[in-house]
């Protein structure tokens, strides 16, 4: 395998993460009250791009798991990998909750300068916390590989 395979996939993975977390994080921050001048409907129009970015992270992440053993569950079990996947599943559930409960549609009605509901704020805060967790566990992948 060429030496530049891993850094190339990692670079692509990170670019897609920047796009995905950029959109999701901006929506979350706005729900929490940052940059209140932004109306939320056009902001949430960016969601399809977040989904495209997610697909790129998934494909590049899969590629990395095939070429770099630190990016797999093991054996020996990599706690960081297990935790990362768990956090991603929790993010998925949080997102499903956001759409299924009608919160997304409610937030669409939040214009420039308006406040969001407490429930939207909770979902947004959970989303940001989980994403910070995903970055943490991703960083720990190489350090915790083979730790158990």
């Amino acid at each position: 395998m060429k030496w530049w395979f891993v850094p190339l996939w990692k670079t692509l993975h990170y670019f897609a993460v920047a796009g995905l977390v950029g959109i999701v994080g901006l929506i979350d921050l706005r729900i929490l009250g940052v940059a209140k001048g932004l109306p939320l409907r056009p902001l949430q129009r960016l969601m399809p791009w977040a989904f495209v970015s997610f697909l790129v992270t998934a494909v590049s992440g899969y590629a990395l798991s095939r070429i770099d053993p630190a990016n797999t569950i093991g054996p020996p079990v990599n706690v960081a990998y297990a935790a990362k996947i768990l956090f991603l599943v929790l993010i998925g559930l949080n997102d499903v909750l956001y759409f299924a409960t009608g919160l997304k549609r409610q937030v669409d009605g939040v214009g420039a300068g308006d406040n969001t509901s407490a429930s939207a704020k909770i979902v947004a805060a959970v989303s940001i916390a989980l994403w910070i967790g995903v970055v943490y566990w991703s960083r720990m992948l190489t350090f915790l590989a083979g730790a158990i």
Binding site: F15, G19, V34
Partner: protein, 159 residues
């Protein structure tokens, strides 16, 4: 003596950097590395959305409130630079001598300068719907520089 050698010696004699370099604890070097990555994710995330908007994505989104996001970017940049310097301190010679190190630093510096110029551009013109040609060029250049900084950082680790 070369400045790199002086810094190398200083880092080798420093109790803090020695601990950071040698401790197997995930609260040592890995923690600094995590802060570096997280701060960078915040910086790049905010930049990418601002740049995309200036380049013409989601035209219904007003541009001027985006200037509030520069606070996020500056906190991110500061934390990234500080944690980056701390990591550099653990192994000055190897890191500075890496062939991609000057490339990465150039991209980082250019990205920071472009971000500052872009911020002033947005703040002074108060654009609402479409960005000026200058703002577009700055946005594209900033995007290229952040991407270049990321790529050279990733590749540097494998040289």
């Amino acid at each position: 003596m070369h400045i790199v050698d002086i810094l190398q010696q200083w880092s080798e004699n420093s109790a803090f950097f020695t601990w950071l370099r040698e401790s197997p604890s995930i609260w040592a070097y890995p923690m600094v590395f995590f802060i570096h990555t997280l701060a960078l994710v915040f910086t790049d995330s905010a930049s990418v959305v601002i740049d995309a908007r200036l380049l013409g994505a989601v035209r219904r989104l007003p541009i001027s409130p985006l200037s509030k996001l520069f606070k996020v970017i500056w906190i991110g940049v500061t934390l990234t630079v500080v944690s980056g310097l701390v990591m550099l301190g653990t192994d000055v010679q190897t890191k500075v001598m890496n062939r991609l190190f000057p490339v990465k630093m150039l991209f980082v510096l250019a990205a920071i300068v472009l971000t500052a110029v872009l911020r002033n551009q947005i703040a002074s013109t108060g654009v609402e719907s479409s960005a000026s040609p200058l703002a577009r060029v700055l946005a594209a250049a900033s995007l290229v520089c952040w991407c270049g900084a990321i790529a050279s950082g990733k590749f540097a680790a494998y040289l």
